[in-house]
Symmetry: C2
Subunit: 179 residues, 2 copies
């Protein structure tokens, strides 16, 4: 069965830089870039203003890109303790924006994305960027890295055929983590 083309918006969540990247394609066929960029918020703004600015930015992206689904990086408490709360909160905003529109939301871990794009779950940022550039036939690597990571998330999701990761979610819940 040949899956239909799907347009996916990937979100690499963050308060200072929230990476956004949209691709179109289907498993086993060349992918195309739709749009890539970042939403930035000033580090000295209060958390409320920052989250509202991220919400506004993502809403604009959803209006412009009109994706079929949204892929957000799954945030774990174990990693990067210094910034993880802001990352989780930016992710929450992205998830709410998508879910409010009835769009399917998928969560992929960084290692799932790296493995999908490079073949190795422990690949570095440079390697992920190189593969994103190659897979989308771009002239240069998307900058900053958050933008490239958002595209990697979207590519990963297209290649997984838009599966909702129900199993992964169920497992994460069983372990007591919030998917």
């Amino acid at each position: 069965m040949r899956l239909p083309e799907m347009r996916v918006l990937g979100v690499d969540p963050g308060l200072t830089r929230c990476g956004l990247g949209a691709v179109e394609g289907r498993p086993g066929a060349p992918l195309s870039l739709v749009a890539v960029g970042v939403v930035r918020t000033p580090a000295d703004d209060d958390i409320g203003s920052r989250l509202v600015a991220i919400e506004r930015g993502i809403e604009q992206w959803l209006d412009d890109v009109r994706p079929d689904s949204v892929a957000v990086e799954r945030v774990f408490a174990q990693h990067n303790v210094r910034t993880v709360m802001g990352t989780a909160q930016a992710a929450a905003v992205a998830i709410v924006c998508a879910a409010r529109r009835g769009l399917p939301v998928a969560l992929h871990t960084p290692s799932e994305v790296k493995a999908a794009i490079t073949g190795s779950g422990t690949a570095g940022k440079q390697q992920v960027g190189t593969m994103v550039t190659r897979l989308l036939r771009l002239d240069a690597m998307p900058r900053p890295a958050d933008a490239a990571d958002a595209l990697a998330l979207a590519i990963c999701h297209v290649w997984r055929g838009g599966a909702q990761n129900r199993l992964a979610d169920a497992l994460a819940r069983a372990r007591g983590r919030t998917p």
Copy 2:
């Protein structure tokens, strides 16, 4: 200078039970209860539906209670690793709902709240509940504990005179934490 009466909505964030409690008063005067309750979401729903349900619940509370400001528990990555991501995401939704309406949002740590209500930053849930019951002159302790904790947050915020914790926020940022 006598501060004016203020109405504060406290939010004890959580995906399964998000505690909400509103009080009215000013520093140095008796407080009164406005409303208390919880918004619940089913643990087996996907994260998008849960966050949207929490958003809807909080919007309803803001419409009904019409607070002057909102106090949300400050979530730290160090504590309760198993549930902290969901807590952070529910907190993000509460912060966005308030900030979108232009309401001031204050973040208080659990130990700040306990110290304000009981005199000890390490007081247990029962002690906090007992003091909330006494301070609001209630016949019984509000249940579940999340609802009592939300009232404690709101009381703490009234007693701090609605200060925005700019210093605490600046310190948290300097330490690399998201306030």
